[in-house]
Amino acid sequence: MFEMPSGAEIQSIISILKGGAGYFVPEIYLSALFMVLIILDLVTGRKNGRFLAMVTIAGLVGSLFYIFKQQAMPDTEFFFGMYALDRFGIFFKYFFVASGILAVLTTMIDTPLKKQESGMGEYYALLVAMVIGMMMMASSTDLLMMFLAMELVSLSAYAMTGYLKREIRSSEAALKYLVYGAVSSGMLLYGFSLLYGMTAQTNLTRMAMVLTMHQYDPLVMIIAVVLIMAGLGYKMGAVPFHFWSPDVYEGAPTPVTAYLSVGSKAAGFAMLMRFFFVAVPHHGMDMNVSPLQIDWLSILMLVSAASMIYGNVVAIWQKNVKRLLAYSSIAHAGYLLLGIITMDQLGTQSVLVYLCAYLLMNYGAFYVTILIANHTGSETIEDYKGLGKRMPLVGAAFTVFLISLVGLPPAFGFIGKWMIFTALLGKGDLFMWLALIGILTSVISLYYYMLIPLNMYLRESERQDESEIDTGLGAKLVTAVLMILTLLFGIFPQSLINYAKYSSALFGALLN
């Protein structure tokens, strides 16, 4: 079956790889950073957390330069069609580097992680590995590569979740995450193998060509799509693949929770968009199209509606802020899916804008949660009583982030929601109902999000301690910057809207 390639063939493979490497610079650079971090950890002592954090941030900022240089390159597929360099991928590269930097910043203020005896060396290395993995998830154009990228993200994430080795909750979360992750990876892989069985292709574009030209068994196709959806849904934290998320979010170190809820979720969405838009072509809600193509759309619709309803309703009863944000992130997966099911460029564009808003507001919310937990030692909403007075900036910023999560103007989250609803309306009655669900659940979300300002501002602490809590200059700066950006982009979103349009143009031709 498998023949050893001849010398000439090996030569040509190597030259192709060399050619492709030119398009792969940010990933190579970050892999180097990954190794540098491991070596630095070995040569510096145990108390090197701060130093390594600085190196990581500097390294991630440096990678922006290489990503920026890619903007001048044309769209291309390389490594035998395994991987792509395109505007969509570049957008997500920026996005994941930003989320990586924010993850480091949140880690630097987290007390439990700072006290970690075994040092932070592997942590930052894993964090960088995850950035690489997420970038690859967004840019892979081949089933095998997609799976590998996703596993790279997952494996790093398991280890990071369990990083607080002495903390039983952290270990429990890691184990749960691992078990769920293994199952959904298996499902994803099974779905991929079915697709491969039908098309004999692993490259997404070629697969799409085969699918449009040949007959295939719709049942197998549906099974494959559902399985793949399960694998991706797990990454996105959408209902009904969400079961891991509240426990993992609660148990994991908070910076890791934030990182998972933004980074790996966004990576899941990037992969979902590329997979569904490219591999399983769709021709809108035209009933003349073969049933299969509508089917995956209706699956996504159901998942979206279920996520919005379930996430927002269950969040009402949460007492722990991290759990509350976990359910809220399930709900946001639902809103993001709304943008995808519109199946047009505006929808895709609005998903990208929404993700940017989500990056700022969700990281912001977790950042201030950590700041508060550092001083109260608690993530229970009850313990937030009277904190608004004691931490004025944190309180104001938290309120802004929550308002943005609800989707109220003038915060950035409103722009995201408004764009998604704009993309939905005018698409037909079914989409109108989804928009209605989205709107109604937003009102519900106001209630539980407002529980936090309610406790911070409207209730007095029993402890009668009125002294202002100092969070440190750096933390104040980060909080203020995140808050100001959330408001600034809410009022002046034009540049981001334009950039998102530019980045989603790739699918514009495919979809419209």
Binding site: L346, L408, P409, F414, M419, T422, A435, I439, L454
Partner: protein, 545 residues
Amino acid sequence: MLSLIVFLPIIAGLVILAVPASQKQIIRIVSLVAALAQGVLAVLIWRHYDPTMAGIVAAPGGSPVGSFQLIERIPWITLDLGTFGPLRIEYFLGVDGISITMVLLTALISIIGILSSWPIQKQVKGYFILYNLLATAMMGCFVALDFFLFYVFWELMLLPMYFLIGIWGGPNREYAAIKFFLYTLFGSVFMLLVMIGLYFSVIDPLTGQHTFNLVAMADQANYIKGAILGPDSVTWRYVAFIVLFVGFAIKVPMFPFHTWLPDAHVEAPTPISVILAGVLLKLGTYGMMRINFPLFPEVFQAGMYVIGVFGAINIIYGAFCALAQQDLKKMVAYSSISHMGYVLLGLAAGNSEGMLGALYQMFNHGTITAMLFLLVGVIYDRAHSRQIDKFGGLASYMPVYAGVVTVAWFASLGLPGLSGFISEALVFVGAFREPITRPIAIVSVLGIVFGAAYLLWSLQRMFLGKRKPDALYELEVDAHGHEHIHFHDWKGKLDLDARELTMLVPLGIIVIALGIYPMPVMGLLTTSINKLVQVLAPVAMSAVH
């Protein structure tokens, strides 16, 4: 100029941000200066305003800014919608007769509110920052002529209001604050969907592009056939009208969406009650006049009777509830519901008299209710109670207070010679003229009787008759046989002090002056109201189709 009047308070808020929290006096003065500057600007705008220009809608084929004045218009957000063409959102401000009336009212009430906030001691810095944010949002709503911009200002009001009730409110403030927030948000999120739907259905005649421009939206000729809210999409147009109407009706508040209002008022601190009743409620009816009705005139024509019936329910039900209240503030809150019913009734008539009365009533209700709430605040400051039956014979110890109360109370019940009379009379004339609303008008007249009943009854119980020296206050007889009254919780002057008079006297003068000579305000709005009636009339619509 309009940008300045809108954003002055927020600039003051930013200045306050830099002031240390301990400098309470500076914070108050900065806010007051901003509000006064806003007032000066409002007066300048008023002087500058040309009442012969109608506004409301662009002339057919004319400029998309219509005959609005003081226009500011710059592109804000552009979104490419593929086949639909670009979506343009503008920062578009302007005034016509409807909005300038409300701008004047807002500026006036903002100043009163700041003066009334002077005694607040709790977290002064936060309070005034939120207050200023609220002031900007209110003013912005009244001058925004782009639906998106309007929506942003509209939603911006919610958060400061939530905190102002929730932090500085009474014992049950948590419940009242979240109830207010959820109710109004529920109303407004659906507005978002209608707004997007409208965008898909309206084309700016000059550029040929879709627009959020409210002036263009008010012209039925600009709607596209076949669009979701186009002229032939009857069902969706009804749905959209109802959705918008409910959104605005919650703010008015119209029965059965009124239940948040008494809670909010009872818990809110006095200045916030003043703002709430004086300005915020008007946003509901303003939204109907600016957006709801002109955008869907045929649905308005079909729904006039229903709107009128709800107006009548508001008038009578509100009056009955007021009659039953023991808490003076709750009584005033229900009287607000009753009086906003007149506005609805006037709007339902759909003719010049009714609409004119409705808008004039909005202005008058703003000034009169502000007085009522301030006066309730005065007695609550002194006695820490608002229970009507705990008081008696107050007039003999607080004669000035009793005098001002009498003016306000009589203005509220619509005594001729005071401003409330003219607007209510106009509303009834308008409603009576239309055969469709005539029976409603006849029934609603009962509301005036009940209104007189609860107002006079409370006046009589609290200010006349026997004194009730009990838990709240006691009488001392000095050596000369003179009686003195002492509220337990009050160390200051018993009767109105200078600050309270500064707030109440100008309002009183306005109420009396506009009752005798209404033209300063009425003259502003007549042209615009006539234009609005024309836009809403069935004739205008049939000309289009």
